[in-house]
């Protein structure tokens, strides 16, 4: 063929789109800074890493596939309870426990996805919310298994690989959560840069066209929903293991709503938006609550309003536009 060079250019172009930018490398290096610069903030850093992982799981379905959810804490909580309960029942090995927690949440996610893909818009929002609240009530009702409102008692997480004990300062906790966040981020990054990620973007861009190119878009949605649920379950399992606590709040509507707020705040459909939004929301909350434990949410509320008015594509979208303009 005469223009056989051109497809290679296209491939190059596609490859370039998924190449690591210096910003990204810098970002992940910066994620190591708390170890050295803010060692007393490591517990907060772990909590942020867990929330960021949860936000990434929501970004996969909301930002990439356009599934708006108000019930994703369901999977976070299922993962948390699973990891917690097997620990209480005698298996406190963290890595295998975490994987099982993620798998469990993913399986439930796949089952639930058959309901989710039947509805759209407000109904979708409300079905996810309803399923989330049902799970919450179920956990409350299964008092003997879950500890009800008091929370699950007796979680003991063994040292990682039998070596690294979870310490009071949170070094091990942060190393563990950061490692998991990074791994899941790599997976998610690969996912969004894969043909599957392209299919998800196709669904978001024009769901009507998908059947006309022969796509099983509901199948795609089910798959991404299950993957997202599994990642949310991992995040929940991490919370259970690093804090040795699980209670009903891990399944609550507030947690579902908060994660969506953090994601939109950072900017949807960018993965890094999920992480950035989480960092900004939780750091702002921590700092504002440090100043005044009672009125911090006034400041948070204003932050959200200002971001919408002045950065309609989220904080990361806003930053990206500034960088683009500079170029």
């Amino acid at each position: 063929m005469t223009d056989s060079i051109a497809p290679i250019e296209s491939r190059d172009w596609l490859r370039r789109r998924s190449r690591w930018s210096p910003f990204e490398i810098l970002f992940w290096l910066a994620a190591l800074l708390p170890f050295i610069l803010f060692p007393t903030y490591l517990p907060l850093a772990s909590q942020i890493a867990i929330a960021a992982l949860f936000a990434i799981s929501v970004d996969l379905i909301l930002g990439y596939a356009g599934i708006v959810t108000l019930g994703h804490a369901m999977f976070f909580g299922l993962g948390a309870y699973f990891a917690g309960i097997i620990s209480v029942r005698g298996w406190g090995e963290p890595v295998s426990g975490l994987l099982m927690a993620g798998l469990f949440a993913g399986i439930i996610g796949y089952i639930v996805s058959f309901l989710i893909t039947r509805v759209q818009h407000l109904a979708l929002l409300m079905v996810t919310l309803g399923l989330g609240l049902l799970t919450y009530e179920l956990a409350n009702a299964l008092h003997d298994l879950t500890g009800g409102t008091d929370g699950l008692r007796g979680i003991r997480t063994w040292p990682i690989f039998g070596q690294f004990k979870f310490d009071l300062w949170g070094y091990t906790g942060y190393a563990y959560t950061l490692a998991l966040l990074f791994l899941c981020f790599l997976l998610s990054r690969r996912l969004v840069n894969s043909s599957f990620g392209l299919a998800l973007r196709g669904i978001r861009e024009n769901v009507k066209r998908m059947p006309a190119i022969g796509a099983d878009h509901k199948g795609h949605l089910r798959l991404v929903y299950a993957i997202s649920a599994a990642i949310a379950g991992l995040a929940g399992g991490l919370m259970a293991q690093t804090t040795n606590t699980v209670a009903l709040d891990s399944l609550s509507f507030e947690r579902s709503a908060d994660v969506v707020v953090m994601l939109i705040l950072g900017g949807t459909g960018r993965l890094y938006g999920a992480i950035l939004g989480t960092i900004i929301f939780l750091v702002a909350r921590d700092q504002l609550a440090g100043i005044n434990p009672q009125y911090w949410y006034f400041g948070i509320g204003l932050l959200l309003m200002v971001v919408v008015l002045f950065m309609p594509t989220g904080i990361l979208g806003f930053l990206a536009r500034i960088v683009d303009r500079r170029k």
């Binding site: 109904a123 309803g130 399923l131 409350n140 969506v260 009125y295 959200l304």
Partner: protein, 287 residues
């Protein structure tokens, strides 16, 4: 048995009517402008605070406090709609969610600052307290009062929507915004008025709710879920839908707890999911 069914229906209906007042405004404004206002419950909350405050501080009677709660919230909503929400109509649903959640946060903080965290109490006039016996069944007088108020409001709404010029404009704007605009209708103005009415009704609902479900700065969050359930089950933009949805929810909730207390807390969510899976647009939704 019959008397029990009667009382369950009565109590559930009363609770449903409270939900109806709190949510009908959101249903219509959402149906008209696709504007997701999660802060709708905050208007209910401030309505409650207005009623409590004018009764406490100014010594006004309960019956005067109710319309004041309506008026105050309608005015406040105009202010907020014109200054803030107006900018968001084309902002996309996620931004609307984020912004109005921010408003809920700010409203809760403001309520805490002004009124404190304490549960507010409304002292009902004597004639609204207690219950009357009728055919061997005791009906709470206040609940009957709520039903009465809600029915009057519903009648006014239905009449207004069917028979007045504004009503016709609202219907046109809900049915097809673009066409209404094409016909020279000032949709934004119609929307502002509808929004004010809806928030006023939420304020009234909030004032009526203090006696039944209490009032504290977290009211806006607490009621959000219920309000969203009514709106989605009833269907967007439909007064009938909100009415039936709220009544169904109220009766379903009370009846479920009465007949199957073991699953009492599950029932409304089961209903919600089941109804939406079968009818994604809600019972009376058109789109």
């Amino acid at each position: 048995m019959i008397s029990q069914i009667v009382i369950v229906l009565f109590d559930g209906f009363a609770f449903g009517m409270l939900l109806f007042l709190l949510s009908v405004g959101l249903s219509v404004t959402l149906g008209m402008m696709n504007f997701i206002n999660l802060a709708h419950g905050a208007f209910g909350m401030f309505g409650g605070y207005v009623a409590v405050t004018v009764m406490r501080q100014l010594g006004l009677p309960f019956l005067a406090a109710l319309p004041l709660a309506f008026i105050a919230m309608a005015l406040l909503s105009v202010l907020i709609e014109r200054s803030l929400f107006r900018r968001l109509y084309k902002a996309g649903e996620l931004n609307q969610v984020l912004f109005t959640i921010g408003v809920v946060f700010v409203a809760a903080a403001a309520a805490t600052f002004i009124f404190g965290t304490v549960q507010q109490v409304i002292i009902l006039p004597d004639w609204l307290r207690g219950s009357v016996e009728f055919g061997g069944v005791r009906f709470g007088i206040y609940r009957a009062f709520i039903i009465l108020v809600a029915l009057i409001i519903t009648a006014l709404l239905v009449f207004g929507l069917e028979r007045t010029r504004l009503g016709a404009q609202i219907r046109a704007a809900v049915d097809n915004q673009r066409m209404a605009q094409g016909l020279g209708l000032d949709v934004e103005r119609v929307f502002a008025i509808t929004f004010a009415l809806g928030c006023g009704l939420a304020g009234l609902g909030g004032a009526l709710a203090v006696e039944i479900i209490g009032l504290s700065p977290s009211f806006g969050f607490q009621m959000l879920v219920y309000v969203l359930i009514v709106v989605s089950v009833g269907g967007l933009g439909s007064i009938t839908g909100s009415f039936v949805g709220a009544a169904l929810l109220g009766i379903g909730d009370v009846a479920g707890k009465y007949f199957w207390p073991e699953i009492g807390s599950f029932l409304i969510y089961l209903l919600l999911v089941a109804i939406l899976l079968v009818r994604p647009l809600g019972l009376f939704g058109k789109r």
